[in-house]
C-alpha cells in the first residue's frame, strides 16, 4: 500500500510551492475518481508518491464557469455535474455539458472534475473531445506565474500532460462559438451508464445564409494517440450543403485519417466502420438542430 502525506493548500501559490518542494513526488487530488483508483492499483507512476495535495478546499479560486466577453472560463475544479448543469455551457457550448453528463455515474460526476479528467490524460475522457473541437486553451499556474497554451499541445501522450513540477492546471478558456453554431457529442459505449467510451466524437456546424456549411469542427475520441481535430474532414464540409452523402464522406475521411496516423491495428476492423458511423451521426444530429 502506498504511503504518503496529505496536504491542503490555502492559496494557489501555496499549491505551486508544495509541488515544487516535492519535485514531482507530490500529486494533486481533486475529485479523486482517477488518482484514488490508480494509487490502490499501485500504478507505477505514483510509486514514489510523497504526498497528495488536495485542491478541493480552493473552491472559490478554482470552481467556476463564467462568461468573460467572448470567452468562457471553466475552473479546473468544476465537476462534471457542474458542467452538465451549467446554463452558460448549455447556451454556448452544449456538447461539453452533454459529454460531461455521460461520464461514469452520478457519484463520479459529483466528485470528478474537468481538470482532473484532462490531467489524467486518458484518450477516452469524454469532455476531452468537445474541448479539442473548441480549441480550448489551458491556463497553467506555477511558481513563475501563469502561462497559457493550447489543450492539444498540453496533452502529450496517454497519461502525460505538459506540466512542470511546480505547475497545475487552473482553468480552461474557450471562445464562444459564433451565433448560429450547433454542437453535438456522440458516444459509443458498451452500456448506457458507467460506460467508458469505445469511441466518441464532438462536432460543431454552422451554415451560412445560403444553407451551406460555413464552419465545421470534428474531433473524434479514442482513435488517435493524442487528441485532435480532423481538419481535412472539416475542410471537406465547407461550402457544401448538408446531406447524408456529405456526412459519409466526412466519416470516411476521419477513418482514413485514423489509419494514416495509427496504421492498421487489431481493432481497426471494428473501429473503422464504427467511427464512420458515429461521425455521421453527430453531423446529422447537429444539422438537424439547425433545422
Amino acid at each position: 500500500m502506498f504511503k504518503y502525506d496529505y496536504y491542503r493548500a490555502g492559496t494557489l501559490d501555496e499549491v505551486s510551492e508544495i509541488l515544487a518542494r516535492h519535485q514531482g513526488k507530490a500529486r494533486i487530488v481533486a475529485g479523486g475518481t482517477d488518482i484514488m483508483v490508480q494509487i490502490r492499483e499501485k500504478d507505477k507512476r505514483w510509486e514514489d508518491l510523497e504526498c497528495l495535495l488536495d485542491l478541493t478546499f480552493l473552491e472559490s479560486e478554482l470552481r467556476y464557469i463564467r462568461e468573460e466577453g467572448n470567452q468562457i472560463h471553466i475552473g479546473a475544479l468544476s465537476t462534471h455535474t457542474d458542467l452538465e448543469r451549467s446554463e452558460i455551457i448549455k447556451k454556448w457550448i452544449p456538447f461539453l455539458g452533454k459529454a460531461a453528463s455521460t461520464v461514469g455515474s452520478p457519484q463520479i460526476r459529483n466528485r470528478g472534475t474537468i481538470g482532473g479528467s484532462i490531467c489524467n490524460a486518458s484518450p477516452a475522457a469524454d469532455p476531452l473531445t468537445p474541448l479539442i473541437a473548441l480549441e480550448a486553451k489551458v491556463v497553467i499556474h506555477g511558481k513563475a506565474g501563469e502561462r497559457e497554451m493550447g489543450l492539444k499541445e498540453f496533452y502529450l501522450s496517454q497519461g502525460k500532460v505538459d506540466l512542470n513540477e511546480d505547475e497545475f492546471l487552473k482553468e480552461f478558456v474557450v471562445e464562444k462559438l459564433p451565433e448560429g453554431a450547433v454542437t453535438e457529442f456522440v458516444k459509443l459505449g458498451r452500456r448506457k451508464a458507467l460506460a467508458i467510451s469505445r469511441l466518441n466524437v464532438s462536432v460543431v456546424l454552422m451554415l451560412d445564409k445560403e444553407g451551406s456549411i460555413s464552419y465545421a469542427r470534428i474531433a473524434p475520441g479514442c482513435i488517435f494517440r493524442t487528441p485532435d481535430r480532423v481538419e481535412t474532414a472539416e475542410e471537406l464540409l465547407i461550402g457544401k450543403k448538408p446531406s447524408e452523402e456529405l456526412w459519409k464522406e466526412a466519416g470516411k475521411e476521419v477513418s482514413d485519417e485514423m489509419i494514416r496516423r495509427t496504421g492498421i491495428r487489431w481493432s481497426t476492423e471494428y473501429k473503422q466502420p464504427a467511427v464512420e458511423a458515429i461521425v455521421e451521426d453527430a453531423l446529422a444530429q447537429a444539422a438537424e438542430m439547425i433545422g
Binding site: 500500500m1 502506498f2 504511503k3 504518503y4 502525506d5 496529505y6 491542503r8 487530488v29 475529485g31 479523486g32 475518481t33 484514488m36 483508483v37 494509487i39 490502490r40 497528495l52 488536495d54 478541493t56 478546499f57 455535474t81 461514469g104 455515474s105 452520478p106 457519484q107 463520479i108 459529483n110 466528485r111 448506457k192 451508464a193 458507467l194
Partner: protein, 163 residues
C-alpha cells in the same frame, strides 16, 4: 506518513478522527467509526455500494481521501430515517420487495435520497439515471425503480400536507 486529524460531521454529529492520510472516507466510516452499513464492493468507484451523501451529493466513499472531508457533512445509511422510523425510501423498498441479498441496498438508498432531496419530482427515467452508479446483481433494478418512484410520490404528498 504522519497521521492527520480530520473534523467533520457524520449524520449530524461532529466527529474528529486521527488516521493515516492514505485512508479513505470508507475506511474511516467502517473501521474507525464502525458505521458498517456503508459497504465496500469494488474499491474503484464502480459498484456504488459505498455511496454516502457528502455535502448534499451522492459520492462513492471509496474514492474520497479522508482529508477531503474536513469541515464537511457526511450522511450514511445509519443517518437515514428519523426518530427510529424508516425513511419513506426504505419503507417503499420493503413494500416492493426491492432487495434480495441486501448488500447493495444501503448504497441505493443513499443515491435515491440524494436525488429526492434535490428533486422530489423525479421521473422514473431520472430515477434510473440517479441509481445508474449502483450495481445490483439480484433485483434487475425493476422493483427498486418502482419503490423509489413511490417514495417520491409519498414525499410529495407529505410536503403538500405540510403546506
Amino acid at each position: 506518513m504522519e497521521k492527520i486529524k480530520v473534523n467533520f460531521t457524520v449524520n449530524k454529529k461532529p466527529v474528529t478522527v486521527e488516521v493515516n492520510p492514505n485512508e479513505r472516507l470508507l475506511d474511516v466510516l467502517r473501521d474507525t467509526l464502525r458505521l458498517t452499513g456503508t459497504k465496500e464492493g469494488c474499491a474503484v468507484g464502480e459498484c456504488g455500494a459505498c455511496t454516502v451523501i457528502l455535502d448534499g451529493k451522492a459520492v462513492t466513499s471509496c474514492l474520497v481521501p479522508i482529508g477531503a472531508v474536513e469541515g464537511r457533512e457526511v450522511v450514511t445509511i445509519e443517518g437515514v430515517g428519523a426518530d427510529g422510523k424508516l425513511d419513506p425510501i426504505q419503507e417503499a423498498i420493503l413494500e416492493n420487495h426491492a432487495l434480495q441479498c441486501g448488500f447493495c441496498t444501503p448504497g441505493f438508498v443513499m443515491s435515491a435520497k440524494a436525488l429526492l432531496d434535490e428533486n422530489p419530482d423525479a421521473t422514473k427515467e431520472e430515477i434510473r439515471r440517479a441509481i445508474s452508479g449502483n450495481l445490483c446483481r439480484c433485483t434487475g433494478y425493476e422493483q427498486l425503480t418502482i419503490a423509489i418512484y413511490e417514495a417520491a410520490q409519498q414525499l410529495k404528498e407529505a410536503q403538500k400536507a405540510q403546506i
